[in-house]
């Protein structure tokens, strides 16, 4: 099977861009509904169920309402930045999805189409780059509002997001070691080759990544920037109507992308158990694996395979979306100093040590001469299991991160700017 080429490649590109973009917007809209319904079920309520059957038209009603509502523009706000911030916050959350493959390649009469918007050679680095740009919209919105609560929310958000970006990046390093390349198609392919999803051989990286992803998206238990009991709603306090909606869409867009990313990096992406669905471009051919003598086995793409793998991908992403909502109603919010201590004193050293342990284990296994495959993965699973156990044991002692009752009152060792009274503590 040949890859699609010529004029049809451009047609496929346009269809994929518009199709996947629309799909992401729809998922985002229904994620807001799912959040309210699942929250309601967890609290033994019914949730929004009046607009359409089971409330399914609620997101549309919300959208119409938000477009027609009155906007306010605070008199003291910096007008240009106040209007610019919702746009800046929206764009990174909507374009990050582009490098995530959503299903097995689809055969068409004109050639095989990869089910990914752009298989760029920098892959996961593109995601890192855009998530590092997400800070600006949030902090700009808080700053431009000229509202103390919004400003504090924006500051907290930016400090928290940069802190956890380090742990996020370092937990990715372990994944890249097993994948051998930075593109997400390669990461999926190596999980198919290893015979197990990276959540098992890299269990600690998985845990660190999930925690960082929660912090990056400012979701509970890390929603300090929006802590409603302290900061009203944080950085978007002054925003109303569609501008508020832009912040909401961006938050859910980040959630959807993070869920899809966790599914791709650690749960095999669109891969389903068994080797029947494996597909990868190798020297111009779509292959499903290598035979024992090193020759390639050609893949046999089909529409039903694409559909089945897409369903698998959607299920995994949906699992993480539900996990987001579930955690929200399970764990209380951290204190801000706990958030920062967890990021810098726990996650960062753990991720660094874990990267070195995994690198050592990989090199040792290669030295021993174990073949790349299921047993290789099992050994790594054992190593990671021990590391995870140690991490949990360490956290459970409650020395580095502790509740207020355990902590004896101590004088702050980092002192503060003298006058005027410091904000943002």
């Amino acid at each position: 099977m040949e890859p699609i080429s010529g004029i049809w490649a451009y047609v496929a590109m346009t269809l994929k861009v518009t199709g996947i973009f629309t799909l992401v917007m729809i998922v985002v809209a229904y994620a807001t509904l799912a959040e309210r319904r699942v929250s309601a079920w967890i609290q033994d309520r019914r949730g929004p169920n009046r607009v359409g059957p089971f409330g399914l038209l609620q997101p549309i009603a919300d959208g119409i309402k938000n477009i027609l509502k009155e906007e306010t523009l605070p008199a003291t706000a910096s007008r240009v930045f106040f209007v610019l911030a919702p746009m800046i916050v929206l764009v990174p959350s909507l374009v990050t999805f582009a490098v995530i493959p959503i299903a097995a390649p689809l055969p068409t009469p004109a050639g095989v189409v990869d089910m990914i918007i752009a298989d760029v050679p920098i892959g996961i680095l593109y995601v890192l780059a855009l998530s590092s740009l997400a800070v600006y919209g949030v902090v700009l919105g808080g700053w431009a509002s000229n509202n103390k609560y919004a400003f504090l929310g924006g500051l907290r958000a930016s400090a928290q997001m940069v802190s956890y970006e380090v742990a996020l990046g370092l937990s990715l390093i372990a994944v890249l070691m097993l994948a051998g390349n930075v593109t997400l198609t390669d990461i999926v392919w190596q999980q198919q080759q290893l015979g197990m999803w990276f959540a098992f051989p890299l269990s600690l990286a998985f845990i660190l990544f999930v925690i960082s992803a929660f912090a990056e998206t400012n979701r509970l238990p890390f929603d300090m920037p929006e802590a409603e009991s302290e900061l009203i709603t944080g950085y978007h306090t002054e925003y109303s109507a569609m501008k508020f909606s832009a912040f909401m869409i961006s938050e859910f867009g980040h959630m959807v992308t993070a869920s899809a990313l966790m599914a791709t990096l650690f749960l095999g992406g669109w891969d389903l158990p068994g080797s029947w669905d494996n597909a990868y471009w190798h020297e111009g051919q779509l292959i499903s694996g290598f035979a024992d003598d090193g020759s390639v086995i050609l893949a046999n793409p089909a529409l039903w395979k694409t559909a089945a793998t897409f369903a698998g991908f959607a299920a995994k992403t949906g699992f993480f979306l539900v996990l987001y909502i579930w955690i929200r109603w399970t764990l209380p919010r951290f204190r801000y100093d706990q958030v920062m201590a967890l990021g810098w004193k726990v996650m960062l050293p753990t991720a660094l040590a874990y990267v070195m342990v995994i690198a050592g284990a990989i090199l040792f296994l290669d030295e021993v001469g174990l073949d790349w495959g299921f047993s290789y993965g099992l050994v790594l699973t054992g190593v990671s299991g021990l590391a995870t156990f140690g991490f949990m044991f360490f956290l459970d002692r409650g020395k580095t991160i502790s509740g207020a009752a355990v902590k004896e009152p101590q004088k702050s060792r980092v002192d503060r700017v003298p006058q005027p009274a410091a904000l943002g503590e």
């Binding site: 861009v17 938000n66 477009i67 509502k69 009155e70 906007e71 306010t72 605070p74 008199a75 003291t76 919702p86 746009m87 929206l90 764009v91 909507l94 374009v95 582009a98 918007i117 752009a118 050679p121 509202n147 103390k148 609560y149 400003f151 500051l155 930016s158 940069v162 802190s163 970006e165 380090v166 990046g169 390093i173 372990a174 070691m177 390349n181 930075v182 009203i232 109507a241 569609m242 501008k243 832009a246 100093d337 920062m340 201590a341 810098w344 660094l352 990267v355 070195m356 690198a359 990989i362 090199l363 290669d366 060792r413 980092v414 503060r416 700017v417 005027p420 009274a421 904000l423 943002g424």
Partner: protein
């Protein structure tokens, strides 16, 4: 290979149009009835006291600079990560040294209280 980025260009265009479109449509359609009270910053119903534009804690600066340092460390580890099996033990030792040097920096900052938040 930069042809692979073409769809991204299209996607950026669509997203920016979408973002601008949302804000502009809403601006055209929504009613504006401003009153002085409505345009006041909402600070829990209190009349805002003092300026928002104050200096804030130097801790945020510490966070930003630590972030730059460890972000760079991550970037330096990425090329090693994708080639770890080909590069072997000698590079493992070199990278360990690099990581240990920065770990010393982290420990120093920790001991000096640069990571404390109150």
């Amino acid at each position: 290979m930069s042809g692979a980025y073409l769809p991204l260009l299209l996607l950026f265009g669509v997203s920016i149009l979408n973002a601008v479109g949302m804000v502009v449509t809403s601006h055209i359609l929504n009613p504006r009835r401003d009153t002085p009270q409505k345009l006041m910053p909402y600070e829990s119903g209190m009349i805002p006291l003092g300026s928002t534009r104050q200096r804030f804690s130097v801790k945020f600066y510490m966070v930003a600079i630590s972030f730059i340092v460890f972000d760079l460390e991550t970037i330096f580890l990425i090329p090693w990560a994708v080639q770890v099996r080909e590069l072997g033990w000698s590079v493992f030792v070199a990278v360990s040294l690099f990581v240990v040097v920065l770990a010393v920096g982290l420990v120093y900052e920790w001991k000096k209280g640069g990571l404390e938040w109150g």
